[in-house]
């Protein structure tokens, strides 16, 4: 039986809740408090403690590593509303609470896309930007008739509205630690059962009828709206801070589906993008030593 312990995983050295405009944001830190800060931003349906192995490696090199659970995720408050702008404001609140100076930022998946947006809108916050498999590109649109596409959208919209009608009373489905790990494993087929059990042990909670993920049950994977992925990548070429992108070549359900050749022309001047073969969307979990070494080399050591 797996108990959630995982080799190399280190609990944060400091954990606290920040009041971000009335929403409680859980902050998790590794490394000395007096050291220079480095921010880690998690992806959608993830949480800060997915960095339990990766963050300590950066902290060991002398950084104060600061990660937070986005609203509704992990130990942060289940908010009334969720949006891209809301996530960015929460990020600003955390950054402002830690430092008034620019700092390096590492973002994974949706967290990487959020930070491309913030780096474009507020470059003064960034000394460096690292993007871990988090560069959105155009969605692959299936070949179908206009009528079929309308039907597909209708199904998405009504499905989402039906979901909203039920969220006031909905709860996440309970199960054993192993069952929750197995469910997550369907979205993360490349991650080991041991790691997935660790994720449940820190991203879930246990009550009388079993374990549940902490994430707000009103949140739903997917959705619809006017936003298009290519609007984020269009912000990338103009970034002036040093940029490192790390893509996993193997496609997975939770990734953006972006292929290396699609990114090349958008990489900022003097930026670079590395591609890891036989690695999936969670580059920092599959290859924590390699990716930490790449990030530390890119940063050139703590300032």
């Amino acid at each position: 039986m797996l108990d959630g312990t995982y080799p190399g995983a280190v609990s944060p050295h400091r954990e606290y809740v920040l009041d971000a405009g009335g929403v409680g944001i859980a902050v998790h830190e590794w490394g000395p408090e007096a050291a220079d800060p480095l921010f880690l931003v998690h992806g959608g349906f993830d949480f800060a403690r997915t960095y339990d192995v990766f963050a300590p490696k950066l902290a060991a090199a002398g950084w104060r590593v600061v990660a937070w659970d986005q609203r509704g995720h992990g130990d942060s408050e289940h908010a009334t509303l969720y949006s891209w702008d809301g996530d960015l404001r929460d990020a600003m609140a955390v950054m402002d609470s830690v430092t008034q100076r620019p700092a390096p930022v590492v973002g994974h998946s949706k967290g990487g896309a959020l930070m491309i947006n913030l780096a474009d809108a507020q470059p003064f916050r960034f000394t460096h930007l690292v993007n871990l498999d988090g560069i959105p590109y155009k969605r692959a649109i299936p070949d179908m008739s206009e009528h079929e596409r309308t039907r597909m959208v209708a199904s998405e919209v009504t499905g989402w509205l039906d979901h909203r009608r039920s969220t006031a009373t909905s709860k996440r489905k309970p199960g054993t630690l192993e069952e929750l790990a197995a469910r997550r494993g369907r979205m993360n087929p490349r991650l080991s059962p041991e790691w997935l059990c660790h994720l449940v042990s820190v991203g879930g909670f246990e009550s009388d009828d079993g374990w549940r993920w902490k994430i707000d049950p009103s949140m739903r994977f997917g959705g619809f709206g006017p936003w298009r992925p290519e609007w984020t990548i269009a912000r990338l070429p103009g970034l002036a801070m040093p940029f490192l992108g790390i893509l996993g070549r193997v496609q997975e359900p939770m990734g953006w589906g972006t292929l290396p050749h699609q990114v090349t022309r958008y990489i900022p001047v003097d930026g670079r993008c590395e591609v890891l073969d036989d690695v999936g969307h969670f580059v920092h979990i599959e290859q924590p030593d390699l990716v930490a070494a790449m990030v530390l080399d890119f940063l050139g050591g703590a300032a």
Partner: protein
């Protein structure tokens, strides 16, 4: 009159009844920064059925959430909560409410018998594509309207081809030849595109727009 409070996730929405009567209800959606009127507007006096008006999240007597996070889609779900309570409706929206009325007519096409889109605050919305807009943290306010609602819903992205998608959904699902009536004088890009679609008619006045969808049994 004391409104009915509807639950939408963690929000309590105030649904005001402005008129009683037989037949299909008229659902009114207010503009950005507004709230439901306290009496029947002059343009709605010919409506024979009941008339209800919804306060969106962060507006009027509905919940003011902390930390913002608004989108037109969330307001669509607000309107859908009213639809779940009222059953089949005709919907009329001012400004931002016009955009939401369009979305509701498409998203719940079988339950919306016509949408009338009118001028009002928040009609234009934001850009039609990516912008250079920055992000700001606003001080909290304990009375409506929520400043984050004003900020976020004044710049929500409204690509014309996204708006016209809801026209096609309405046309396909409603059984009406013209499920959308544009009574607005001002036509921002999304509404210009909507007005050009098959299934959309123009109404010279709001009252004439409503008359298109009045239940003959009410007359």
């Amino acid at each position: 009159m004391i409104p009915v409070m509807l639950t939408h996730n963690r929000v309590q929405l105030a649904l005001h009844q402005l008129q009683d009567g037989p037949g299909r209800p008229l659902l009114m959606l207010h503009g950005l920064g507004e709230e439901s009127p306290t009496s029947l507007p002059s343009w709605a006096t010919e409506w024979a059925g009941p008339v209800h008006a919804l306060d969106f999240t962060g507006h009027g007597m509905s919940t003011l959430p902390a930390g913002g996070g608004y989108s037109a889609e969330i307001l669509l779900a607000d309107a859908d909560a009213a639809l779940a309570h009222l059953g089949e409706v005709t919907v009329v929206g001012r400004g931002l409410g016009a955009y939401v009325a369009l979305m509701l007519a498409g998203a719940r096409a079988t339950q919306v018998r016509g949408a009338v889109l009118c001028d009002g605050p928040g009609l234009a919305g934001g850009a039609v594509g990516p912008t250079s807009q920055s992000f700001v943290i606003l001080p909290p306010r304990d009375s409506a309207p929520d400043p984050y609602a004003l900020l976020e819903l004044s710049r929500d992205l409204r690509p014309p081809d996204y708006a016209t998608l809801f026209v096609r959904l309405a046309l396909e699902g409603s059984g009406l030849d013209e499920p959308i009536a544009v009574a607005a004088v001002v036509r921002p890009p999304w509404l210009t595109a909507v007005a050009d679609e098959i299934g959309v008619t123009t109404a010279p006045t709001i009252a004439e727009g409503l008359a298109l969808y009045a239940d003959p049994l009410q007359g």
